[in-house]
Amino acid sequence: MNRELDSIDRAILNRYQGGFPICERPYQAAAEIIGISESELIRRLERMLEQKQLSRFGPMYHAERLGGGLSLCAMRIPEEQYDQVTEQVNAFPEVAHNYARDHAFNMWFVLATETPERIGSVLEEIERRTGFRVYNMPKLQEFFIGLKFEV
């Protein structure tokens, strides 16, 4: 059972999702703002990583600016074939997230490829292997950026 987050953990999470000091001793700088020691901050981050409350402590890249392709894709899969198609889809290394959702369009995944041109060929390959249509829904415009969870 995970240890509950205390008020210091919450302060760390709320303060450092948006950015982190870039200097020689960033943990010391960050810890000072929270009012704890460098070693305590590191210990708390290690614990939250271990308990999987954090997925990582690092960069979130802008895939397109790195030269890669990124798209959200959806499929309509009959319930009795869902598990099998999930396995086929997840076998592609370009599939980064795959969520089931409660709708006729019940499979939603993100494709991340090394080049934008690769998106189309991976989609075709998924269609060929599964026998179902893949609906490609790339981002056309972004109205808000940031994903921040107040805890």
Partner: protein, 158 residues
């Protein structure tokens, strides 16, 4: 900014996370043959130019109790798209708001936003309230909650 070969090595080296040691940038530099100062400068430049969107804590919302993860999709008339997108994007609870293509006739929705909440009922009540308060009653929408999560990892860069 133009990325050089060293930058790509740096990108690959830190993608899984920064080391939790008192001089993390020096440690990364040691692994790829750069000094601490250069690592700091290049990361700074990548943040500045938007190649790194954010550097910091990436939370696992599910493990933090945000288990009701709703994708709300809207069929917005093209002439109202910017107005509605900006309105929704400005709301606290909405964490992403994108225009995506319709796929007619199967999929009429062109605006997608994400709401993460701790309970389905509360998320649904919140959506009902915002439809009223933002004047969106005449815009068809659907709420798609996520069920099983089969795969979650960031994109990998070599």
């Amino acid at each position: 900014m133009v990325l050089n070969e060293q930058d790509y090595r740096l990108i690959a080296e830190i993608q899984g996370g920064l080391p939790l040691t008192s001089h993390p940038y020096a440690e990364i530099g040691e692994r790829i043959g750069l000094d601490e100062k250069t690592v700091i400068q290049r990361i700074d430049a990548m943040l500045e130019s938007g190649i790194i969107k954010r550097l910091g804590i990436v939370v696992r919302h599910h493990e933090l109790g945000y288990t009701a993860n709703a994708m709300v999709v809207w069929d917005v008339p093209d002439e109202r798209l910017n107005e509605v997108g900006e309105k929704l994007g400005a709301l606290d609870c909405i964490t992403l708001c994108y225009q995506r293509p319709r796929r007619l006739p199967d999929w009429p929705y062109n605006l997608f936003c994400m709401i993460h909440g701790q309970e389905r009922e509360k998320v649904l009540a919140y959506i009902d309230r915002l439809v009223g308060s933002e004047g969106l009653a005449d815009i068809p929408h659907k709420v798609l909650f996520s069920g099983r999560r089969f795969k979650q990892r960031g994109a990998r860069y070599q």
